[in-house]
């Protein structure tokens, strides 16, 4: 009997324990929303084809896919030919849209609609009129860069009981690549050059990896291991060395930071940097405008 009870206990235990361990192995860890390159997504659901003397509706859903909230969000329809399209309102301000986080995994979205009408075409127009235009999404946002790094004054990689940096011929000089921080603006490379007197110099490559255009970037705060760093853009804009303005041609820029590490051994520590930037996403669209006769013939058919 005892033997049977033991087998039952064992089987029951196995059936109870296995699912728990199995579940645990499938439960994902907290997603890092501030990783990779992310964009604001625009799902355009408006008219691609419109007819003369008929209303025009341009619908779209704007969704913040970034790991950060975006502010002063403005959506504009630009470049529609006024001769053919009457659109009383070209711009809509959406305020702020929350980014993706543990509470809202998909990011905040907003539905918006531009309503207008198509004007009369010239008499005798036979071909469709193709009206190319752009949808602009402008916003302000921030981006955080917070990697854990190994810094220290260790010379020539001598084991000092602290952390180990990346494999490099010169252990004092580390080059770390990054894909992105959950935004279109990204730190794509960090180079740390540790000095022998408890200081380090950080060289960051800041890139626009999105489809749109980054405007002005401002460095908010910058710390290494809780101590402020002195950072400035190599090609800063105007007199403010913490500001840089991208152009359509500029895809990346460099920033240099001086940091005090303290101590005589290598330590594992955290960099904390925040960048504020403005951004414009440009989405080319095409509206096909058809004449009355074509519309009528289509309706008849």
């Amino acid at each position: 009997m005892k033997k049977y009870l033991f087998i039952l206990f064992l089987v029951t235990s196995i059936f109870l324990v296995l699912p728990i361990t199995g579940c645990e192995s499938q439960v994902p860890g907290p997603e890092n929303y501030k990783a990779g390159v992310k964009e604001v997504e625009v799902d355009f659901r408006g008219d691609y084809t419109a007819y003369q003397n008929k209303p025009l509706t341009l619908n779209m859903i704007v969704q913040n896919d970034l790991g950060y909230s975006i502010d002063n969000v403005k959506v504009s329809v630009v470049g529609l030919d006024e001769r053919y399209v009457s659109l009383p309102q070209h711009t809509e301000n959406l305020g702020s849209l929350e980014g993706r986080d543990i509470v809202n995994e998909k990011g905040e979205l907003h539905f918006l609609e531009f309503i207008g009408s198509i004007n009369d075409l010239s008499r005798g127009t036979t071909e469709d009129i193709s009206d190319e235009y752009l949808i602009y999404v402008d916003y302000l946002s921030s981006m955080e860069f917070s990697p854990t790094v190994c810094v220290g004054p260790s010379l020539y990689g001598i084991e000092d009981g602290g952390c180990k940096g990346t494999q490099s011929k010169d252990p004092r000089n580390q080059k770390l690549p990054f894909t992105g921080q959950g935004a279109p603006l990204a730190v794509t490379q960090l180079e740390i050059v540790s000095g022998s007197t408890g200081t380090a110099q950080l060289r960051l490559l800041l890139s626009n990896r999105g489809k749109g255009e980054v405007g002005k970037v401002t460095l908010g705060s910058s710390m290494l291991g809780g101590r402020d760093m002195n950072c400035e853009f190599v090609e800063y804009s105007g007199s403010n060395k913490k500001e840089f303005t991208f152009s359509a041609k500029t895809k990346q820029t460099e920033m240099l930071c001086d940091a005090v590490i303290g101590g005589s051994t290598t330590i594992q520590t955290v960099i904390w940097m925040e960048f504020l930037y403005d951004y414009r996403l440009k989405l080319p669209q095409k509206l096909t405008i058809r004449g009355k006769s074509r519309t009528d013939s289509q309706l008849i058919s």
Partner: protein, 614 residues
């Protein structure tokens, strides 16, 4: 060789080097050698009858072209014809070509079309004289070698007719010879080539070879160096190129000479690296000179009037060309063309002094405009003009209004007085208040201080809104009779991207773009009105403080333009206030309307009336 040139080998081979006529001893001088030809010395062609013909014909052709007297070449060509008959064909066909020459001098030069009536009598007279001469000289019967006389004579007449540019008379209006062939024939002195062929046959040598190279080079220059055909994969020029060549021909510019000059300039490192540009410039030079000479202007020490006029013409032309381009829009075109009625319904040859001459107007009116059409006709013979009376649908009226999208309007022309002989029948259709819309697209960009930012924005706007050049030029229906081309913007107004912080220059031109069918021509009779409605409606105003025409945006009756494209007016515009405060770029297409009267003319040649005298 002869067999490849001439269809009737026997006649020509026998004719070549035959006996010399005793009745024309004066022609023997200098050509005696033909009776008993000597063996040619190597490298010499001096004894060939072809050499003098080649040299003289080529020289006369060059001279008449250079001095602009092509009619002289026609008279010289009569002499070449007679010479050829005597020297190259040993008098074969001589009587025919002499009688033909006499007829031409007294009658044919004025109205060549009468040859139809005279050809048989001329041929008969030639055959009779030939028969009598043969009989009297005891060389044979009356009809001995009569067929040779007529065949060789006819061949000479054919060469003459083609050489003096009467090819269209031979083939008539109903068979279209490709323009390129017509043009080549117009610029090739055929008698010189006949001489060259004979030299090749008789006296091959260094001189002959050298002259053959010259002849071939000239032909190549004519055929292949006609501008635009060298780089093309085909030797057949396109419509535009043909139009250019036609234009050159009409103003007396020899394409071969111009091309050779330009090729030489390029080879010697002259001014032009581009032959096409050189050809255009040289052609223009001749055209300006002709315009100014036609005005009777001459250079004097005190007043270089001719030179000044040429400079003025050049400047005007440049202004027009820089100007205001136009492209085809997607709007359907209004087209009107004359269309000949069935051949059997038209009395090309009539015995009635006042026959009925019908013609059809083919009208395409897809925009359903109310087209008011007035038709007229007249019969022309040399300097005499006989007016025609017109009836439409059998009624004596000369006007009709058409609003259907497609219609054929047949009208009949009856001479107001009796006809007798050959006439050119000219029909005209005048269309009143034709309306052709035009449009122009422009993008307005906000004022940006940062040059780089402005450049980037311009680039972006251009790529989205003006991917091709024609997106930024004035557009109008492709086949309408005429159109108004306009532009505005910075500088000369060509750039379609307009910064809103600057005033813009506006200008417009009128272009006659009628696509004439065979025998047709068209002209703008008058401009009734024009209005750039789109620009006015958007709030643009003329800046009166600046230079320009105050009626550049809207105007009434204006004299008809003289050339194909004529720049009419220009002014400076102020950009409306609301447009000055834009944050993003704005795009707008501006409409313009153009109201004008247009006249299409159609010529039917050689309408012939043969009256039967009771």
């Amino acid at each position: 060789m002869a067999s490849t040139i001439f269809k009737s080998k026997q006649y020509f081979m026998r004719s070549f080097r035959g006996s010399f006529s005793p009745f024309l001893p004066f022609f023997q001088i200098g050509f005696k050698g033909h009776e008993e030809p000597e063996e040619p010395a190597e490298g010499s062609s001096s004894k060939s009858g072809g050499l003098p013909l080649f040299i003289i014909a080529a020289s006369v052709f060059l001279f008449t072209q250079l001095f602009g007297v092509p009619s002289w070449y026609a008279y010289a060509s009569l002499a070449f014809m007679i010479y050829s008959s005597i020297a190259l064909f040993d008098n074969k066909g001589l009587y025919l070509v002499i009688i033909f020459s006499i007829w031409y001098l007294f009658l044919g030069a004025y109205d060549f079309s009468t040859i139809k009536s005279y050809l048989i009598p001329i041929a008969l007279a030639a055959a009779i004289i030939h028969g009598i001469v043969v009989k009297v000289s005891g060389k044979g019967s009356f009809v001995h070698e009569a067929e040779g006389e007529l065949a060789v004579g006819a061949f000479h007449i054919l060469i003459f007719t083609i050489d003096v540019g009467l090819i269209s008379w031979i083939i008539g209006d109903h068979f279209l010879l490709p323009d390129v062939v017509r043009l080549i024939l117009a610029w090739v002195p055929l008698w010189a080539y006949v001489g060259l062929f004979v030299m090749l046959k008789e006296r091959p040598g260094k001189v002959t070879t050298a002259l053959t190279f010259v002849g071939i080079a000239y032909l190549i220059a004519i055929i292949t160096l006609i501008p635009g055909t060298v780089e093309a994969s085909t030797f057949i020029p396109g419509q535009e190129e043909l139009a250019q060549i036609k234009e050159r021909s009409q103003i007396g510019v020899n394409p071969a000479l111009v091309n050779l000059k330009c090729t030489w300039l390029q080879v010697t490192g002259g001014l032009d690296a581009n032959i096409q540009a050189c050809v255009t410039r040289e052609t223009d030079k001749v055209r300006y000179t002709k315009i100014c000479k036609d005005k009777g202007l001459k250079n004097t020490r005190e007043d270089p009037a001719l030179d000044n006029c040429i400079k003025d013409e050049e400047r005007k032309d440049k202004e027009d060309r820089a100007s205001i381009e136009g492209a085809a829009s997607s709007i359907e075109s209004t087209e009107v063309h004359f269309k000949a009625v069935a051949k059997e319904d038209f009395p090309f040859r009539s015995i009635a002094a006042r026959d009925i001459y019908p013609i059809t107007l083919d009208i395409q009116n897809p925009r359903r405009e109310n087209l008011r059409i007035e038709v007229a006709c007249q019969f022309m013979q040399s300097k005499e003009v006989i007016a025609g009376e017109v009836s439409i649908k059998g009624e004596r009226k000369n006007q009709a209004t058409v609003s259907d999208p497609q219609q054929q309007l047949t009208f009949e022309c009856i001479p107001s007085s009796d006809l007798n002989g050959a006439y050119d029948l000219e029909y005209t259709a005048t269309l009143f208040n034709v309306k052709t819309p035009s449009s122009l697209k422009r993008a307005f960009i906000p004022a940006l201080d940062d040059y780089l930012a402005r450049e980037e924005l311009e680039k972006e706007v251009k790529s989205v809104e003006f991917p091709s050049k024609i997106d930024g030029v004035s557009q109008a229906p492709e086949k309408d009779f005429a159109r108004i081309n306009f532009k505005f913007g910075l500088g000369d107004g060509t750039n379609p991207i307009v910064p809103v912080n600057e005033d813009v220059r506006f200008s417009f031109s009128v272009e006659n773009q009628f696509r004439a069918a065979s025998g047709e021509s068209g002209k703008i009779l008058r401009i009734n009105s024009y209005s750039f409605d789109g620009i006015l409606a958007r709030g643009f105003v003329i800046d009166a403080s600046k230079t320009g025409n105050p009626d550049c945006l809207v105007g009434g009756e204006t004299p008809a333009p003289s050339s194909k494209t004529t720049k009419l007016k220009s002014c400076w515009l102020r950009i409306p206030a609301d447009l000055k405060n834009i944050d993003e770029f704005k795009v707008r297409t501006f409409d313009a309307s153009f109201d004008y009267d247009y006249q299409i003319t159609h010529k039917t040649r050689n309408v012939r009336v043969e009256r039967i005298v009771p």
